[in-house]
Symmetry: C2
């Protein structure tokens, strides 16, 4: 089980943003230490999306000590120590590493986010069990509180989200269907009038394009239909006025 | 090169949030289609952090067609089609898959985000080259615009961020140092008074704890120092009043 705590947030909007991200990524238990006033008509509720119905009204106000005593605590910070001379913010894990390590452990964990400008104080971080830090641009690594929390909760989704809105897997066409399309393409380019010595090059080129695209069944059958119809039309035309067409296509190919 | 475009954003705050995320993750080129008014004293600049100095003032207002004509376009949407019966929002890639595919390709790509409530329209998505969708909770997969963009730009960081604020790697202690700590622990637990038949079990337990923690050099040397001092004190005490101590430790161990 993973919970979220926000320590001493100044702006209600950030609490709402974090509540929304929690609901987006399957979390529900929010703890607030020294929270701002969360008016149901104010910015926290305005930014919480559907989390205004559960995550936000169910949030519990607790003390910092309550978190320490009841959870495996992970403090998030943009600013880390750079080596092991100081252990307040070192060693740290990235959100992805945190997810990997929590995946294999059954634990009541709380992810702790700090105040907007200065984050978690050193005294607070010193009493937390792990430090997590989002890798960002060296030129400007300090994320907004709500955005930082969104990223950490996004990374934790493999632990917290049972079902996503996505279909399990994009269904690629079978090799048989894809080869069927290649066969159709081959007979299609004959009446296009490409000179025979170029046809194998064009077929190979088309095979490379399709090979990288991993087409779906529907894409393959639709394209096959297009080439079949094109081929039929071309052969009809060829039957009607063979000389004219051959000349035209030859010119186009030069 | 990766750029960002926001189509028909309603709230200036989201533009500022996205600009900040761009700067956090090493991007600089922002295109706006039908933007709201971005007052330098308003919410966009207030939420942009240091991106108020460059990303936001340098943003270019362009037409949707300009994006189509000049970029490989990736449209972001929470709502996907579920199978290949409709291709407006299918197939799609996740932000991580997008990052993997763009890593190997040199291209001018623009990541396109839509308006707050309804995202990108179907007509818009139809003319974009790829669809990207963030996996989230099936119960509530619709992220706030600024939060969705933050996640996508976070995932793209391996392409866009040269140097993060993090040290390259957490430096783990050498095996030699770790074995040194184990040696110290072994001689430390003797005067603690743990009965000899238990000592190997305790040493093994300690080896497992340290084995999972991958300690740094500093952690190993500090703990070694602690155990050395404790051992010295214990042996001093033992030398002073051997009988009393042995009795006490025996009881403690029972």
């Amino acid at each position: 089980m993973i919970s979220v705590a926000i320590v001493d947030a100044q702006t209600p909007g950030n609490v709402g943003t974090i509540a929304r991200a929690m609901k987006n990524f399957g979390l529900s238990d929010l703890y607030l230490v020294d929270p701002p006033d969360l008016d149901p008509d104010g910015e926290a509720y305005a930014l919480a999306g559907q989390a205004r119905e559960d995550v936000l009204p169910n949030a519990q106000t607790v003390s910092f000590e309550y978190l320490i005593e009841n959870f495996h605590t992970v403090g998030c910070t943009a600013v880390t120590n750079s080596d092991d001379r100081r252990h307040v913010r070192y060693p740290f894990v990235t959100p992805r590493e945190l997810t990997d390590s929590l995946t294999t452990v059954g634990t009541e964990t709380v992810i702790v986010f700090g105040r907007e400008r200065v984050g978690l104080h050193n005294e607070e971080l010193s009493s937390l069990d792990e430090i997590c830090s989002i890798p960002a641009s060296e030129a400007y690594p300090v994320l907004n509180l709500g955005q930082a929390a969104t990223i950490v909760l996004y990374e934790l989704r493999s632990i917290t989200v049972d079902e996503t809105q996505h279909p399990t897997e994009i269904v690629r066409a079978s090799e048989r269907d894809i080869e069927g399309l290649h066969d159709q393409f081959e007979t299609f380019i004959e009446p296009v009038g490409i000179v025979p010595e170029q046809q194998s090059r064009i077929r190979r080129l088309w095979r490379r394009v399709l090979g990288r695209a991993h087409p779906t069944r529907r894409e393959v059958s639709s394209l096959r239909g297009v080439f079949r119809r094109a081929e039929n039309r071309l052969r009809e035309k060829q039957a009607q006025k063979p000389n004219e067409d051959t000349t035209k296509n030859k010119n186009e190919n030069e």
